[in-house]
Subunit: 341 residues, 2 copies
Amino acid sequence: MAQDKDADSQTARRPRRVTASDVAEAAAVSRAAVSRAFAKNAYLDSAKRDLILETARRLGYRPNALAASLHGTETGLVGIVAGDLGREYDAAFVGALVSGLNASGKWPLVLSGSDALTTQSIRAVLGYPLDALIVRGGSVPTAAFRDAAQLHIPVIFSGRVAEAPLADCICCRNEDGARLAIEAMLDRGRRSFGYIGGPADWSSEAERQTGVQDALREAGLALCAQQQADYTFEGGRSAARQILRDDRIDALFCANDAMALGALSTAREMPGHQVPETLSIIGFDDIPLAAWPDFNLTTIRNPIPETVSQILRLVEARLSDPTRDGEVIMIAPELVARGTH
Amino acid sequence: MAQDKDADSQTARRPRRVTASDVAEAAAVSRAAVSRAFAKNAYLDSAKRDLILETARRLGYRPNALAASLHGTETGLVGIVAGDLGREYDAAFVGALVSGLNASGKWPLVLSGSDALTTQSIRAVLGYPLDALIVRGGSVPTAAFRDAAQLHIPVIFSGRVAEAPLADCICCRNEDGARLAIEAMLDRGRRSFGYIGGPADWSSEAERQTGVQDALREAGLALCAQQQADYTFEGGRSAARQILRDDRIDALFCANDAMALGALSTAREMPGHQVPETLSIIGFDDIPLAAWPDFNLTTIRNPIPETVSQILRLVEARLSDPTRDGEVIMIAPELVARGTH
DNA sequence: ACCGGATGTGAGCACGTGTACATATACGGA
DNA sequence: TCCGTATATGTACACGTGCTCACATCCGGT
């Protein structure tokens, strides 16, 4: 009866996980033998190993990966700062990245939400000894990742070039991509260009805008209209409503596909414009939606499979040699010519 | 020179993370004092605490969350079996869930990819002492989660009712939802119904189909045509191409929005059908895309915010009382009347 | 002067695991 | 018989942290 007090007063604690000691006791072997039964290259009588594995199965024992990683070995945990999974490109990107990590035995701790929440989450999650921290694009200030360096957690930026010597970076050549889009429109004889950009605090925004302006300047032109939106469909829709009020506009480049689809949606409602007869619209990223026949959007591909496999390579490289300098990998964008230009 | 061998032969090990002992030594205090400096309710001279916190900041020390959780306290790690983030509904759902977990200080280990990969990943990730495992819908066999019970890791199924007494389940009333759709179409005077379902191994599929057939039977009708697709836009497109070959079809219900959008896309290409004049199309889920003016899809809302907040509640409840019986929570779907019915 | 409580402090254990170390046995060859 | 090597096994330590326990100090009130 004395024990009842302990059992009840604690509002019913969660039952303890079965440990190697429990298995050792149940199988009447030493705890070290249990450990060896699960190790690859350890001397252990095969009959004893079978007994231990069977006992472990019966009790439901699994070596605790956390305790095992205390010795300084890799934890298998990787952080991903995922941006906003409500955005189509981010969702597709993170999906591919998560699958890739899973396939190579890494377990991603995903952070998502507002920048403020994410910044706070990053601080908290750095309390775990992560093998790496992968940052997807975005607007979270680079300063938020400074702590990671002190903790010897390698940081891999994707869609942003920052702190080059300290961290690895992998990024699409945004300038080239924007230039491809402008040139494709110039080839169609377009002369009056509009541009819908993303939020100014996004690292890619400045580069895409530079690409636009350089390409136009070289053609002896300049932007006729420009709007800043929020990378969403709805944002693209209202921005385009402003720009397309001017019927002379015959080319509209958008800094991502979601906004381009919004612009396309708006253009279809405006009798003064016909896509692609009198108006070209080109987006950026090549999200799956862009290929839907209802949109058939011409866009600049920001290739996910290639980027993800480079990230996986960088994670491995960093883990096998932590002293190497940060690498900067630039990915070449590519024009995907469809029906809107 | 003797030390050089160690340093070089190991192909440059990753530098050790700064520990409480390191801080203690640097600040000339005991290790216990460092621990106390980071604890809430501990007696510690405030000047000494300041010194320790400052030293910790300088050295880049953060308490190791893994080591701290060894004592059997909660780890803060939660598994999410995410399905396929390429699917719009899953992406939106997981995004909301991840944000919610982050906001309450939980860190989701996300698993995604093919069913085979996910099944394998689940086994591996159960090596970590997770606080909970959240399973989003899908086709991963329930058997894959049996180990979790043995490990005392609570499982929360969303979009599937399974092992009711052992695990918590939260699911939309799929039958009711399908019924709402059929009734809305009947109200429009539709009489010839087609149905595009999802893969048979999805738990929700049978329920939605049952709802369809019951509602039709009560109206003295039966399905005129039926196709099984894969929950994707493209799958919906080709399935609709089969069904709509018959011009008499005047109502098409699809088991999710992606397929409904595909069907809508097909219908627009077929001169024999006009949506909504001669053909109603209704989807299921209410993904953000459905509200885009280009589609304006009538659908059945499978509410994400409500579902996610219930999941968060269940996680907390389970953690504070691990002995409670599994709960089954049914969410009421709702007709979102837009322009396609 | 004395005492009880509040505050401050360090030693040391426990958490669960992998493995270095020491020791023991078996075996084959000289 | 002896020795070197491969196999087998238990003891004990290390990993980094939180917390208990025992002890020291201080302060206000009787």
